[in-house]
Subunit: 198 residues, 2 copies
């Protein structure tokens, strides 16, 4: 399987992380975002939204990091990471939606501003990040993992931009339960890092 990949993208990293945790091999194909490769027709044919990552598995092309996690978990076949029952899938999808929106609009946006100079609204991003982190702190005060009482693709989806929050100028110091969860993810067998995440 080929992963169209950007080293510094937390969305690409979440796919690399899940593949590493489950021992799946990915061939990484670097996409040069600075040269605008992700907006070229050849890439837009794979993903009309012009975003990394994209996964290619024979004739199948999957866009969106959350969707790729579901695909890989189904391919891997261990229901521990992505179960088959209605309540289990729903609990995970609720967190995938948080990864798609609240994480992206909060710590994700703050990092885009601070690290890559994107002209986004910094106070809005910090406000969203604060609200998210308060909610996560309450969650991880009662739960070791995002969903189902065990590591799932929900943890992989949430981890990157929370662990990279410092690159957006966000201090995780007040969020001890969130930091303890980050450490639990780091301790999973097969864990890999990315630049900015030790």
């Amino acid at each position: 399987m080929k992963l169209y990949d950007v080293e510094l993208s937390g969305n690409c990293y979440k796919v690399r992380l899940f593949a590493a945790l489950t021992g799946m091999a990915l061939e990484r194909v670097p996409v040069n975002m600075q040269a605008g490769e992700h907006k070229q027709p050849s890439f837009m044919d794979m993903n009309a939204f012009g975003q990394v990552p994209v996964l290619e598995d024979e004739a199948c092309r999957i866009r969106d990091s959350q969707a790729i996690l579901v695909y890989l978990a189904n391919r891997h076949g261990d229901p521990a990471w992505w179960p088959q029952d209605a309540a289990g899938q729903a609990e995970i999808v609720a967190w995938l939606a948080v990864a798609a929106h609240e994480v992206r609009a909060g710590p994700g946006a703050a990092r885009l501003i601070e690290k890559f100079g994107k002209p986004l609204d910094k106070p809005a991003a910090l406000g969203q990040a604060g609200a998210l982190l308060e909610t996560l702190e309450r969650h991880f005060a009662q739960h070791d993992w995002a969903a189902l009482g065990r590591p799932t693709i929900a943890d992989c989806a949430l981890f990157p931009y929370v662990a990279l929050a410092h690159e957006g100028g966000i201090d995780l110091g007040p969020y001890a339960k969130v930091r303890a969860w980050l450490d639990r993810v780091r301790d999973l067998p097969g864990f890999i890092a990315m630049p900015g995440i030790a």
Copy 2:
């Protein structure tokens, strides 16, 4: 099954719509957002994010409209709406992520500003809405439905805030393919409307 529901919420409507299309009965429990009921402890116990909708099915409580669609589709059991294979689920989850972020940050946010006076960034919302609608227009120029060549929960997730775009001051006039898709959804057997959607 109980749906904690707000009549004017497109996120609640997407659940009511899917239930209607599949003939599932929901008991609607109105949540008084103007009185702040969704931020009261009794509601926050059901959804730490303080958002509607929430679905209650015996001991099971599901938050997030995308997650509820997956739950109900699994409960309904017809794989036409939510298949069991890796590629099919991934194709749908990619659109659920678009519903969670791009639709919410674009036409969803524009409507919150125009209709409910929320202090969000109007130019940013209109910019996001324009980029989304351009992408959807290209998609629906080649496809009748969001995913898998047939109606799925992806269409239910995308439909409400695109169909309500006019309430955010967004003109769908230039997007003929998007409008034709909206009409196809309206023509589905069992379709129901909501205020603002004829």
